[in-house]
C-alpha cells in the first residue's frame, strides 16, 4: 500500500509538471465542451436541462485522448531505462501498477472537474436533476478507468509510446464502435458477421456506460467495469512479472 502511494504521488507530480498533459487536457476540454454545448445543444433555450448528450459523447472523445495519456505509463520507463530500476525495488508489481493506475485516473477525474461549470450553468437557468448528473460523472470515471487499464496494458508491451497509443486506440475502437447505433450497422454492412458484432457489443464498455449515464446505477455495470479493469491490470501484472523474471 505504501509503495503504491509513493508511486502514485510520483506519477501525479510528473503529470502536473508535464506540459503535454495540460495541452492534452485543454484540447480534451475544448473538444468535449464545444461539441456537446454547441453542436449537440446541451445549452439551448427552451430545451430540457439534461446532461445526457454530454455524457453520450464522452466515450468517443475518450478513445482519442486517453490512449495518449496512458501511453507513457510504462513505455517511457522502458525507453529511458528506469523500468529495470523500478523493478528491482522491493515493491510488488501490483503496487506499482495500482499506483500508476490510480494516478492516471485521478488526473482524468481532475479534468472532469473542470467540466462542472456546465451543469452549474444549467442549474442556474433551469431545474437540473443532479442525481443523474452525479451518476453520469461516476460512469465517466468508470469508463475512463476501463480505457486506461487497456492503455496501460499495451504500454507495458512496448517501449515505443506511439505504438502503445495506436494499439490502445484501435483496440478501444474495436470494442466501442460495435456497441453504438451506427457502428454496428457499418460493421455488418462491411461484411463482419452479425454474431461477431453482437459479441463485441456485449463485451463493450460502452454498452454498460449508457444506463449509469442516464441515472440508473446497476450493480452489474459496476461489477463489469471492476472486472474489465481487473482483467487488463492483471495482464499488465503478468507482463511486468515476466520482465522481472527475464530481467
Amino acid at each position: 500500500m505504501r509503495e503504491a502511494l509513493i508511486v502514485m504521488r510520483r506519477e501525479l507530480r510528473s503529470y502536473f509538471c508535464s506540459p503535454l498533459a495540460y495541452v492534452f487536457g485543454s484540447a480534451f476540454l475544448l473538444l468535449q465542451l464545444y461539441v456537446s454545448t454547441v453542436l449537440f445543444g446541451v445549452i439551448s433555450d427552451g430545451a430540457r436541462a439534461d446532461m445526457t448528450a454530454f455524457f453520450r459523447l464522452l466515450p468517443l472523445v475518450y478513445i482519442v485522448f486517453l490512449p495518449a495519456l496512458s501511453m507513457r505509463s510504462w513505455a517511457e520507463e522502458r525507453k529511458s531505462g528506469t523500468l529495470e530500476l523500478l523493478l528491482t525495488f522491493p515493491a510488488r508489481a501490483s503496487s506499482l501498477i495500482c499506483g500508476k493506475f490510480v494516478a492516471t485516473v485521478a488526473f482524468v477525474a481532475l479534468l472532469l472537474c473542470f467540466t462542472l461549470p456546465l451543469p452549474l450553468t444549467l442549474d442556474a437557468h433551469a431545474d437540473l436533476d443532479w442525481q443523474p448528473v452525479i451518476g453520469g460523472y461516476l460512469a465517466s470515471l468508470l469508463l475512463a478507468s476501463a480505457y486506461l487499464a487497456v492503455g496501460m496494458f499495451f504500454s507495458s508491451m512496448t517501449r515505443d509510446q506511439l505504438v502503445a497509443m495506436l494499439t490502445s486506440f484501435f483496440t478501444l475502437a474495436i470494442l466501442v464502435v460495435p456497441a453504438t447505433s451506427w457502428g454496428g450497422l457499418v460493421l455488418e454492412s462491411a461484411g463482419l458477421p452479425a454474431d461477431a458484432v453482437r459479441l463485441l457489443a456485449w463485451i463493450s464498455p460502452f454498452a454498460y456506460f449508457e444506463s449509469i449515464s442516464r441515472g440508473v446505477l446497476d450493480l452489474g455495470d459496476v461489477v463489469y467495469y471492476a472486472a474489465f479493469c481487473g482483467f487488463f491490470l492483471y495482464l499488465n501484472a503478468l507482463v511486468l512479472r515476466a520482465r522481472r523474471q527475464n530481467g
Binding site: 509538471c17 465542451l33 445549452i43 461549470p117 436533476d129 460495435p178 441515472g215 446497476d218 495482464l235
Partner: protein, 714 residues
C-alpha cells in the same frame, strides 16, 4: 531366511539441475488456459450480477423504478395474472434499443416479484416456433417490420414485442406492440393500465353532457369551401384508456329528467342555453352528493379549417330562463368570469405560419413561430420563487417590499394538492375561474390551476378576430399590431403581478340554489285546473332506485281556500343533506374538441391539444377517487426547461428580434462554458510552472551560497 526388517523408505530427491524446464509452448498453453478460466469466471460473475443484482434509480422523478401505486395494485390482485410476452430475441435488436429491451424485461421481472406469486411472466419467441407465431397472430399481436442491412443485402426483419394479459383465466387484454423506451415509467404505465383494466370488476359509470362547439366560419380565401359542421368530443370518448375504466353514459337533460341514481359523476362540456329546469336538475344532483365537473368556456371561438378564428356570442342560459348559470355556480362557491385570459409567461403553443423566404435563401419558404399568448400551458412551478424578478423596477433594481409581498401572494401554477395528480394541459382561450367570496360553513375549496403573474384578461368582444395575422401572406406589421393590442392590457398591470385562476373546486355540504326559489317544471308540464289526476313530478317518483328523500314544498292540494283552484304539487326539492358533494370548474373546453385532439391543424402548424385527453382521464380518476394511475401519469413531467432570456422583456418585440435576443444570450453562455475550463487549466499550469521555477531558482541560489561559503572556509 528371515524376513527383511521393514526399512524406512528413502526419498530420492529429483536432481533439479538436470530437469528440463517446461517448454515455451507448454508455458503459453498454461497461461492461456489460466486466462481463459479467469475470463470465464469474470463473465459468469458479471452475467449473474446483471441478471439478479439490484438497480438504483438516481432520478428524482423515479423514471426508472416502479411506483407505489403499481406495487399496491399488484398486491391487491385477488386472482392469478399471467403475462405472456411475445418477443424477438434480444440479439436481433439494434444496439440503440437494447437498453430499452433491458428496461422492459426489468419491468416485467419487477411485476412478477411484486405480484407475490400471483403474477407469472412467460416469454415466447414467435420466430422460433410456428405454433407460437400463429397463436400470437390470432391474439392480434403484430410485429414491426424494420429494414436490416446484412453485407450488401437489404432485407426486412420482424421485431416482436407484444403482450397478452390473462386474469383469472377468463379476462384478457392484448397489447399488440409496445415500442422501445428506455424509461421504466413508459412500460409501467402501459402495463399497469392494462392490468387495472383486466382486473376491474366493473367500470365506473360517468354521465356526460356535451354541447357542440360552434360551426366554423367559411374561410375567406377559399370561397368554395363549405361550412363544416360543429365540432364534438367523440374522439375523447374513443380513447382506449377511458373506455377501459369508465362507462361513459351520454345524458340527455333536454326533457328535464333527473340524473339517474346510479351515476355519481357527471361532466358538462361547454354548457350552453341551459334552461332553468336543467339547472335545477344539476342542482339536485349536487344535493344528493354527486360530483360535477364543468368544462366552461365563456368565449366561443369558431375555428376554421385554415385557422380563421371568429369570436362568437355565447350564452350560458336559455332565452327564457330566469336564473343565470354563472350565478348558480357563484352560489356554490365558484366565480366564472365572462372574459378571455391570455398569459405571456407560461409555456405557450406558438402560432406557426409559413411564409416566403427572403431572396437568396436556399429554401423557398420559412416557418415562423409566432408567440400566441391565448394558447398556454400553466406551469407546475411556484411563481413565488421568482418574486424578485417581478418586483424589479424599470431601472433594474428590486423593490424589496414588493418582492416580499409577491412571495406571500403569488402561488404555484398547479396547486400542491393536485400537483401529483394532473399534468396541466394546454388551454385555448380560457376564461378565468376563481373561488367566490364567502364559502358556506361546511364548504371547502381552492383554486387548482393558475396563470403566471404576467397574464391579463379582456372581454371576448374586444378582439373580433383572435387570429394574430390575417389569412394569406404573413405581414409582420399586422402581427406587431396584434401584439400591441394584447400587451396593452398588460401594461396597465405591469406594476402588479397578478395571477388568474383557471380551475377551481368546492366540496362539502353545498346549499341548494333553488332553496328559496320556485322550482322549475319540466317542459310540457302545466299546472292542471283541478287537483284530480294531477301528474306528479318524476322527481317525487324517480325511475329506478332513487335514494333521494323527497320533501314536498309548496301548497298541497286542498290546503288553499275554496276560491283557489287546485294546483298540482310543486316539483319536490331535495335540500342539502349530510352528503358531501364536489363541484369542479375548468375554464376551457376547447382542449377536448375533436379537431384539436385529433390534430387536424397539425400540417398547418397547430393548434393541437396536448394532454387534453390525459387531463380528462386524470380528472375522472380524481373525481372517482382512483388514485392508482394519477401519480403514475403525472410523475414523468417536471419542468426542466432552460430559459436564458426573460420572456416578458422581449414579449413586445418582433419575432426576429426575439430570436436574436435568445441567440445572443445563448452565445455568451456557451462561450463561457467552452473557453473557461481550458483557460483555467492552462492558468493552473502557468501557476505551477511559476512556482516550480521559483523553487528551482531558490535551490540554485542556496547551492551557490553553500559553495561560496565552503570556498571561503577553504
Amino acid at each position: 531366511m528371515p524376513m527383511d526388517v521393514a526399512r524406512t523408505p528413502q526419498v530420492v530427491e529429483p536432481d533439479l539441475s538436470t530437469a528440463k524446464p517446461p517448454s515455451r509452448i507448454v508455458r503459453w498453453l498454461g497461461m492461456t488456459a489460466h486466462l481463459g478460466l479467469l475470463l470465464a469466471v469474470l463473465v459468469m460473475v458479471v452475467f449473474l450480477v446483471l441478471r439478479h443484482g439490484p438497480r438504483v434509480d438516481l432520478t428524482s422523478e423515479g423514471l426508472y423504478s416502479l411506483t407505489g401505486a403499481t406495487r399496491q395494485l399488484l398486491e391487491r390482485l385477488d386472482d392469478r395474472l399471467r403475462i405472456e410476452v411475445y418477443l424477438s430475441r434480444d440479439e436481433e435488436l439494434g444496439a440503440n434499443v437494447r437498453e430499452a429491451r433491458r428496461t422492459f424485461r426489468f419491468v416485467l421481472d419487477e411485476f412478477a416479484q411484486r405480484g407475490r406469486g400471483k403474477v407469472t411472466v412467460r416469454y415466447f419467441d414467435p420466430q422460433a416456433d410456428e405454433d407460437v407465431r400463429q397463436r400470437a397472430e390470432r391474439l392480434g399481436i403484430k410485429p414491426q417490420v424494420v429494414r436490416d442491412l446484412q453485407g450488401t443485402t437489404l432485407s426486412q426483419k420482424e421485431i416482436w414485442q407484444g403482450v397478452r394479459l390473462l386474469y383469472g383465466g377468463t379476462k384478457q387484454k392484448v397489447l399488440p406492440y409496445l415500442g422501445f423506451d428506455p424509461r421504466t415509467a413508459a412500460y409501467e404505465e402501459v402495463l399497469t393500465r392494462a392490468i387495472q383494466a383486466v382486473s376491474l370488476r366493473e367500470r365506473t359509470r360517468v354521465g356526460v353532457v356535451a354541447w357542440l362547439s360552434p360551426p366554423p366560419p367559411s374561410d375567406q380565401l377559399v370561397q368554395r369551401e363549405a361550412r363544416e359542421g360543429p365540432q364534438g368530443y367523440a374522439r375523447l370518448f374513443e380513447t382506449e384508456e377511458i373506455a377501459d375504466r369508465y362507462e361513459v353514459v351520454p345524458l340527455d337533460l333536454s326533457e328535464g329528467q333527473s340524473v339517474p341514481a346510479d351515476l355519481d359523476t357527471v361532466v358538462l362540456i361547454r354548457p350552453r342555453a341551459l334552461t332553468d329546469r336543467q339547472k335545477f336538475v344539476l342542482d339536485q344532483f349536487l344535493m344528493r352528493g354527486g360530483k360535477l365537473a364543468v368544462f366552461a368556456d365563456t368565449a366561443d371561438i369558431a375555428l376554421g379549417r385554415r385557422r380563421s378564428m371568429e369570436v362568437q356570442e355565447a350564452s350560458w342560459d336559455a332565452k327564457d330562463s330566469t336564473v343565470k348559470f354563472l350565478d348558480q355556480l357563484d352560489h356554490y362557491g365558484i366565480d366564472v368570469s365572462d372574459d378571455v385570459v391570455f398569459d405571456l409567461l407560461s409555456e405557450g403553443l406558438p402560432f406557426v405560419v409559413t411564409t416566403a423566404a427572403p431572396p437568396g435563401t436556399p429554401v423557398p419558404t420559412l416557418q415562423l413561430r409566432l408567440e400566441y399568448p391565448y394558447w398556454f400551458q400553466p406551469s407546475r412551478g411556484n411563481w413565488a420563487d421568482q418574486a424578485e424578478s417581478f418586483a424589479r423596477r424599470e431601472d433594474g433594481r428590486v423593490d424589496p417590499q414588493l418582492a416580499e409581498s409577491y412571495r406571500e401572494v403569488l402561488k404555484p401554477g398547479l396547486s400542491e394538492s393536485v400537483k401529483d395528480v394532473f399534468l396541466p394541459p394546454v388551454m385555448f382561450w380560457p376564461c378565468s375561474v376563481e373561488l367566490a367570496e364567502g364559502l358556506g360553513p361546511d364548504v371547502g375549496g381552492e383554486v387548482l390551476m393558475r396563470t403566471s403573474p404576467r397574464a391579463a384578461r379582456h372581454d371576448p368582444a374586444y378582439h373580433r378576430d383572435l387570429r394574430p395575422v390575417r389569412l394569406g401572406d404573413f405581414d409582420e406589421r399586422e402581427y406587431l399590431q396584434f401584439q400591441q393590442r394584447t400587451v396593452s392590457f398588460l401594461r396597465g398591470e405591469r406594476e402588479t403581478a397578478r395571477q388568474y385562476g383557471l380551475m377551481a373546486e368546492v366540496h362539502g355540504q353545498l346549499r341548494s340554489y333553488f332553496a328559496n326559489r320556485p322550482v322549475p317544471r319540466k317542459p310540457g308540464d302545466e299546472p292542471a285546473a283541478t287537483g284530480a289526476g294531477t301528474p306528479r313530478d318524476p322527481l317525487a317518483e324517480p325511475v329506478g332506485a332513487d335514494p333521494l328523500e323527497a320533501e314536498p314544498l309548496g301548497p298541497t292540494p286542498g290546503e288553499a281556500g275554496a276560491a283557489t283552484p287546485a294546483t298540482p304539487p310543486e316539483p319536490v326539492l331535495v335540500r342539502a343533506d349530510a352528503k358531501s358533494a364536489r363541484l369542479v370548474v375548468i375554464g376551457d373546453c376547447d382542449m377536448l374538441r375533436d379537431d384539436l385532439v385529433s390534430g387536424e391543424y397539425q400540417q398547418l402548424g397547430g393548434p393541437v391539444s396536448m394532454l387534453g385527453r390525459l387531463f380528462f382521464l386524470n380528472l375522472l380518476d380524481w373525481l372517482a377517487g382512483n388514485a392508482e394511475l394519477m401519480s403514475l401519469r403525472a410523475r414523468a413531467f417536471v419542468d426542466r426547461t432552460q430559459r436564458y432570456v426573460d420572456a416578458t422583456e422581449i414579449a413586445d418585440k418582433p419575432p426576429r428580434q426575439q430570436e436574436e435576443a435568445r441567440r445572443g444570450a445563448m452565445f455568451v453562455v456557451r462561450l463561457w462554458n467552452v473557453l473557461l475550463p481550458p483557460v483555467l487549466l492552462l492558468c493552473a499550469w502557468a501557476a505551477i510552472a511559476a512556482v516550480r521555477s521559483a523553487r528551482k531558482r531558490l535551490f540554485l541560489r542556496s547551492l551557490e551560497d553553500a559553495s561560496r561559503a565552503s570556498g571561503a572556509e577553504g
